[in-house]
């Protein structure tokens, strides 16, 4: 009897973690009730990774209906709650001449896509992320004002090493002596991605930095800054590579032009894939418990989810670092003075 009790005591923590994590990690999913169709893991995962017009936290009242903002040449600007697309049984219905199909809004009659400016789950996440960044870094800036000429304290001393790391290890060595002009952009970029990655790991949160629309916007911003800062030497290397025989120049020209665009594309894909893949792996492991409906598989998958979550924390930092590192590198390559002549 006492051996049984000591066994329970030893495994108590594991039991607690198991019972705490499985229901929350499973988000809103309950095992399918008797008579319902089998649990579709891939549908569930894709649904969680994608953007949505509602923010579904848990079943039975845990859904936040976000505002829909649509514009079409025919009907003009329209703003209404996304609740209008759902009836009492959570079935999708038409509203006011708009239909919702796979998260896209169409005009009911002509089935023409409208310009969808809705505050979707990811836009809401974007606002939260931006607000979070503002609150945190205004507090940090206040710390510098308060501790002028003194050693840092509180939240300021937490972020100072990170800011110094970005400045001294990423931006300064890669951009060169004129780094200061680009430092505010790089800092904003780094912390936007880092905070987005970390917020996205919270249960129920939107997959902001794992959305290709977000990553492509950031990559295009870096692309624009790179090419607008590019000096004569940069453009001469792109269009008329010096020190290369004429026929080779003609071959290199298209390669260089393609190279201009592969840079933002690689930035876009890298961040999007790294974060989305992490979410898919986590959700897949969680889904194992609902597919097998076994306590032991659930325990195993919970342990795995714990470790993958730790890896995801690492990935959140690494991806923010890599995005800023490559942005700095591209800008540095564009503004460096030519050393050949």
């Amino acid at each position: 009897m006492s051996r049984f009790l000591s066994l329970i005591r030893k495994n108590f923590v594991a039991f607690i973690i198991f019972f705490l994590l499985v229901p929350t990690a499973g988000f809103s999913v309950q095992g399918p009730a008797e008579g319902e169709e089998a649990f579709d893991a891939s549908q569930f995962i894709i649904h969680h990774v994608l953007d949505d017009h509602v923010w579904h936290l848990w079943d039975h009242g845990g859904t936040i209906y976000l505002p829909v903002i649509v514009y079409s040449a025919e009907k003009g600007l329209d703003i209404f709650s996304s609740r209008n697309f759902y009836d009492d049984h959570h079935n999708i219905v038409e509203h006011n001449g708009y239909t919702l199909e796979h998260n896209h809004i169409y005009l009911s009659g002509s089935h023409k896509a409208v310009l969808d400016l809705s505050i979707t789950k990811n836009v809401a996440m974007l606002f939260i992320n931006a607000a979070f960044l503002l609150v945190v870094f205004l507090a940090v800036a206040k710390g510098y004002e308060k501790n002028k000429g003194k050693s840092p304290s509180g939240i300021q001393s937490f972020f100072e090493p990170i800011i110094l790391f970005i400045r001294d290890e990423i931006v300064k060595p890669n951009i060169g002596p004129r780094y200061e002009k680009f430092l505010p952009y790089m800092l904003t970029l780094f912390f936007f991605i880092l905070f987005g990655n970390l917020l996205g790991l919270l249960p129920g949160a939107g997959n902001l930095t794992g959305n290709i629309a977000v990553t492509v916007t950031l990559a295009v911003l870096t692309f624009i800054i790179t090419n607008f800062s590019g000096n004569k030497s940069y453009w001469s290397h792109v269009f008329w590579t010096p020190g290369v025989p004429l026929p080779l120049r003609l071959i290199i020209l298209p390669v260089e032009i393609v190279g201009l665009f592969t840079k933002p594309i690689s930035l876009t894909i890298r961040l999007f894939v790294a974060i989305t893949a992490g979410h898919i792996v986590l959700l897949s492991l969680i889904c194992l418990a609902f597919i097998f409906k076994s306590v032991w598989v659930g325990t195993g998958s919970t342990v795995m989810v714990l470790f993958i979550s730790l890896i995801e924390l690492l990935v959140a930092g690494i991806q923010a670092y890599v995005f800023v590192l490559f942005s700095s590198l591209y800008i540095g390559m564009a503004i460096t003075e030519d050393e050949h002549h």
Binding site: D51, N103, S118, F127, A130, L133, L134, Y144, R167, L187
Partner: protein, 164 residues
């Protein structure tokens, strides 16, 4: 496939929010943070430079002190050496003086002794002369006690005077 098609709305929102965030943070957060960091780095560098200068100054002062100390030590040695020389010389002089005065004293003493001796001899001579006179007078007195003898003698003196 929907995963790979960026939504127009989200792109627009992302652009607006990110640019807004960038301008707000750049003005309200990054600018004060970066300037304070730079200021602090400069003040630390200044403090380090000052410390370095003070260190150099200290070492210079120390070497100065050592030089002074060395000079003082040399001076002391020299003074001691001089003093030793002087004392030796003074001793020698004193010895010579003492010897000289001793010699002089001895000479004086010898001279005094000689003088005394001469005086003593003179006295002895006087005494002997007196004694002889006494003896002679006594003998004479005895021999000239009669008139004949006195006459004889007077005769003799007169003879002698004539000879002169």
């Amino acid at each position: 496939m929907e995963l790979l098609t960026p939504g127009t709305g989200l792109i627009l929102w992302q652009l607006i929010v990110f640019l807004l965030l960038f301008f707000l943070l750049a003005k309200l957060a990054w600018k004060p943070i970066i300037t304070s960091l730079k200021e602090r780095e400069r003040s630390i560098q200044d403090a380090l430079d000052t410390a370095e200068r003070a260190r150099i100054e200290m070492s210079r002062l120390k070497s100065d002190n050592e030089n002074l100390l060395k000079q003082a030590r040399e001076e002391r040695e020299k003074i001691l050496r001089d003093a030793r020389d002087v004392s030796v010389r003074m001793k020698e002089e004193a010895e010579q003086n003492a010897k000289k005065s001793a010699d002089r004293i001895i000479d004086d003493a010898r001279m005094a002794i000689n003088n005394e001796k001469q005086a003593a001899l003179r006295e002895v001579k006087d005494v002997v002369a007196n004694l002889s006179l006494d003896v002679a007078s006594k003998i004479l007195r005895k021999n000239l006690s009669n008139d004949q003898a006195q006459k004889d003698l007077t005769q003799q003196y007169i003879k002698d005077i004539k000879l002169n």
